[in-house]
Each structure stands twice: as C-alpha cells, then as structure tokens.
C-alpha cells in the first residue's frame, strides 16, 4: 500500500516489518522521530518488541550487543554526536560478529553546533567494521532496512543504513509499504549460530592472545569480501519479489560519457535531474550513484566507468587534511588499475547547505572544461 510518509517513518515501517525483537536508543535530532514512532507503538501494545531505555548511545549499542548475542534481531538509530559516542561499541558489534542493523541519520558534528545533513558522522566510523549503505529516497530507506537484516545475518556483520538529515528524515513522499506476509516470505526469522544457551554454556569475546587475534580480524575481512555477492543475491531476490532493486552502485545518464559524476545520498537524486537536462542539451555526461560505501565497491565502480576520462565526485563530508572521503576512497581504488580517469574532488553542502542543481551543474562544467583539477579539494559553493 502506498502511503505519504517521512524518511524516519519509512525506517520505522522497515523495523516493524522486519519483526525486530529488541530496540534500544537514545534521542538525538534528526533521528528522534524514528524511535519516537517505535516507542509509541510498543507502549500502546501494538508492537511486540522490547524497548530498552538507556542513558546514552554508548549504552544503547551495548544493550543491543547483549541482545544480539542472546540471539534476537536488534535495531537502533542515531545521528552525529550520538554515533560518535557509540564508537567503542561499534567495534565491539563487528568484532563479536553481531548482525545488528542501525540507522544513522547523517548530521554534522559540532562545534559549531549544527543539526543539518553532513556525512562526516557516518564516514568517521568507516574503520569500525560496519557495512554502510546510503539512501537517496524514502522508498530506498524502507527497502534497505529489509535487505540489511538479510545481508547482516548472512555475513554476520552489522549494517549501518544511512539517510540525509531533514532532506529525507523529515520529508514526506509516497512510499510503497509492503505487507507483513510479503516481507515474512523474503526475510526469515534470525537463527544465530551460537545463541546464549544455559544448557550449552559458552564464553564470548574472551581475551585472545596474539597467536589467535589476527585470524579473527582476517575472518572479518573475508566476511566483508563476501558482501558484494551476498548483497547482490539479496537485492536480486528483493527485486524479483517487490519489483525494486538498487545494486551497490548505479550508473545512469548517457552511455558513452567521458565525464562521470559520482554522488551518494540525496545528492544523487537531485543530480539525476541535472544530468537528464544536460543529456537533453547534448552534453555527454553520466551519473554514478554509490549506495554501498563499506565494503567499498571497487570492482563495481571499475566496471561502470570504462571509457570515462574524468570522474567528478561530490562529497558532503570532509576529512580535514585530506578532502572528501568518497573521492579519497575512489582514488585509492583506482590506483592499481590500468585505466585511471582524473578524479575531481568537490566538497560541498557541509552542515546542510543546499547542494542545488546550479552547484551540481557548476561541478560538471568545471570538470568538462579542465583537463585536470587545479586543486586537490574543489570547494563548491564556498563563500571566500
């Protein structure tokens, strides 16, 4: 059934349809309305999920680590400072191989204080061993939650589903909400390999000597390497049942384009309108959406950029001292390749500044007109 709902409501529907057993969360703007919606349903008895009230995001994740180890399906949501506060527990969740799904609503980290969209929060957690999936509309948000549980439980790694503050979280648009029966046939109940069982006691996450520790990390890397195949199968299955699919990346626009624009999140959605217009005007340019940031889709990207001479990347994030993080990851993934298009790294829209069609058009125009970037970081829409 199609309903007009916000991105945060789409998350809540995804959680309800995934038959999540335990939710634990602490409020922070712009995530709050997700757990508000869920807690109201739980309090009124309409949703049979346990809600664990906690005093911080660190404890929220710690509570889910306990619940997930116990063998149940878990969910939390956070943003910005809340995610940063969880940092230690994020490593624990992946190290303990727990298939927790979390939503992070992208928000800048202060100071200066700011509640608007910026990917610096989720991207600063890129080395914590979590799979990261970015969304461009509310339908994709709901669908990605459903897919995330299946992927997480197959590879035994936690998944972070990421959406933009306000531009999705508080924006209402039509979303097809699947029925419980449809989701049940897609997403089976969670069956952990090693649940806590008093009849068969085990020790979890005990001290591990140097002679064994490295192998645990190797296995996490191997699990990450399974993600491209597993998530493709999950996406194919999803597409066959629901008629919608997303892939790790998506190329759109002109087929034989020398200039490609790489974006993530809602910037992709706006870029589609810009590229369609430019193609109609005869400009040979295409777009590349990056949905999966971790593991980084190097193979998929390389397959999609054949023939391109220049890649423009718009990053709504900044690793100070280096530049945009998507651009850096892209450069690193291209280095060992035979064909290495020029990478133009644009940084824009920090702290929720609008990334307008005009700015996107400027980035494309600059890339078309310059054989290589004049600066390593190209600031888009900066007031100098």
């Amino acid at each position: 059934m199609k309903r007009v709902i916000t991105g945060n409501q789409a998350v809540a529907y995804g959680v309800i349809l995934s038959r999540v057993d335990v939710v634990s969360a602490y409020p922070i703007t712009p995530q709050t309305t997700i757990v508000e919606e869920l807690s109201e349903l739980i309090a009124s008895g309409r949703l049979k999920t346990r809600f664990l009230k906690v005093e911080s995001e660190h404890s929220a994740m710690a509570a889910l680590i306990g619940a997930s180890t116990g063998g149940v399906r878990c969910f939390t949501a956070t943003s910005s400072h809340g995610l940063a506060y969880m940092h230690e527990m994020l490593h624990w969740a992946s190290g303990a191989r727990l298939p927790i799904v979390m939503v992070n609503v992208n928000r800048a980290i202060g100071p200066p204080w700011n509640i608007w969209s910026d990917q610096s929060d989720s991207l600063s957690q890129r080395d914590t061993g979590w799979i990261q999936l970015y969304c461009e509309n509310n339908q994709e948000v709901l669908d990605t939650i459903l897919q995330a549980y299946l992927i997480a439980e197959k590879v035994k790694l936690p998944v972070m589903v990421v959406l933009d503050a306000f531009v999705l979280s508080h924006t209402s648009e039509p979303v097809e909400v699947p029925s419980m029966e449809e989701v049940d046939s897609f997403l089976p109940p969670f069956c952990p390999d090693y649940p806590i069982d008093t009849q068969e006691p085990r020790a979890y996450s005990v001290i591990t000597m140097p002679e064994h520790f490295m192998e645990f990390r190797y296995k996490i890397q191997k699990a990450m390497e399974e993600v491209p195949d597993v998530s493709k199968k999950v996406d194919d299955e999803f597409r066959s049942r629901f008629g919608r699919g997303y892939g790790a990346i998506e190329r759109y626009g002109k087929e034989e384009a020398e200039v490609l624009l790489m974006t993530s999140g809602t910037v992709t959605s706006t870029s589609r309108t810009v590229i369609r217009k430019l193609n109609e005007d005869g400009l040979s340019v295409a777009g590349l959406k990056i949905k999966r940031f971790r593991p980084f889709p190097s193979e998929e990207i390389y397959g999609a950029i054949k023939g391109a001479k220049k890649l423009a990347v718009i990053d709504r994030n900044l690793s100070a001292g280096v530049g945009g993080i998507f651009a850096q990851e892209l450069r690193a993934s291209l280095y060992p390749r035979e064909e290495r298009p020029q990478v133009f790294g644009f940084v824009s829209g920090l702290g929720g500044r609008d990334i307008t069609p005009e700015l996107i058009g400027q980035a494309i125009q600059y890339t078309v007109e310059h054989p290589q970037p004049e600066e390593e970081i190209l600031w888009l829409g900066l007031k100098r």
Binding site: A165, H170, S172, D354
Partner: protein, 205 residues
C-alpha cells in the same frame, strides 16, 4: 511541477498543513514532496513549510526558492518576513485574514486571496480563541482559489491526517472554500492534461 510555500508561526500547524495538502494531491494521483523549513522550531516564531507536486516522481531534493503559490497562516507575518520572496508572477498569496484582499495593496503585484480562517476555526471549536487551529480551514480556501485540488480530496486528507475533531476540521475547510474572497482575473496558467487531475496546472511560463 508546482511549488507551494507556507508561512506560519511555530505551533500553528504549517508543517501539518503542508502534509495534509500533499496527501490531498496524492489522492488525485499526483506525486508529492512535503517538508518543513529545516530549522530549530520555537512556538510563535516565524516558520515555513514547503510542498512540491508533480505528475512524475520528484527527484529534486533542495529547498524551494521560487514558489508558485504562497499560503500565509498569520497576517502579522506580512511585513515581518518577506512572504513574497521568490514568488513567481501570477502566483497566489492566500492570507488568513478577515479583511478583503484590497487591504494588502503592498502585495498588489501578485494575486491576493483572503479567508477568515481564524473565525472559521473558532466557530468550529478548533483550538482556543487565543490559539485557534487554522491550518485545515485555509486548505479549503486554497482548493477554491487555486483550482488545483478538489475540496473532497482536501476533506478526505484532513480525515486521514488530523489527530482529532476530524468532522469539525473537514467542515472548517468546506466553509473556508465557500467564504474565501478573491478577485477573479484571467491568468496565463497553462493547463497540462492529467488523467486523474484535469485541473492540475503550472505557471512555469
């Protein structure tokens, strides 16, 4: 695509109005995108909300800078904030006011409509005398003035989206539909054929 901006004060329900109107358009088979001004809301402070409507799925995800129409929930905002900012020529400004449209001569470059949504809300027991809930009534007036969306779709959406007093809210919208004052001028609006909504027009010209 049609873009609409709502001006109100924190607590008046501008954001809900934008959502209710979105759902009304949605019931007529159109795609919608409704969002608040992404700020920190305070009761009584000027707030804005936005709505996009189109026949195609809406991929544009930026603020609305050049709205086609404006809806003002509180007349004291006129002059306090630039309610006409970016408004396209030929766009409507619908104001909650008991005064006739000529009162707002400062805005005479645009088409003005007024409706006494405050009195209609009080008459229907919506909110209190000091804090009437005007956001549903004004949508009825918008249906009449713009001709873009039917009053039945507005009433249906109000029933679905408002938390209480559904009948009173729907009745207030119908009363505002009948009572809104505006000067009928010829417009250059181009009509785009749409199977489900023959009324849907844009002023992109």
């Amino acid at each position: 695509m049609i873009e609409i901006r709502f001006h109100g004060r924190g607590g008046q329900g501008a954001v809900v109005a934008s959502k209710v109107l979105a759902v009304a358009f949605f019931h007529e088979g159109l795609y919608v995108q409704s969002f608040p001004a992404f700020g920190v809301e305070r009761r009584g402070a000027p707030v804005m909300a936005f709505l996009r409507v189109d026949r195609e799925p809406i991929q544009l995800r930026v603020n609305i800078y050049k709205p086609d129409h404006i809806i003002v929930l509180d007349p004291t905002l006129i002059g306090a904030v630039d309610v006409t900012s970016g408004l396209k020529p030929n766009g409507w400004i619908l104001i909650n006011s008991g005064h006739p449209p000529e009162t707002f001569n400062d805005l005479k470059d645009f088409k003005i409509a007024t409706v006494d949504a405050t009195s209609i809300a009080i008459r229907n027991g919506l909110g209190s005398r000091t804090n009437p809930i005007v956001n549903t009534a004004i949508l009825g007036a918008f249906s009449k003035v713009s001709g873009l969306v039917g009053i039945d779709s507005i009433a249906l959406s109000i029933r679905e989206e408002t938390p209480g007093k559904k009948n009173e809210n729907a009745k207030a919208a119908r009363e505002a539909y009948n009572e809104v004052k505006f000067e009928i001028r010829s417009t250059k609006s181009e009509t785009i054929s749409n199977d489900k909504n023959p009324k849907f027009k844009t002023n992109d010209s």
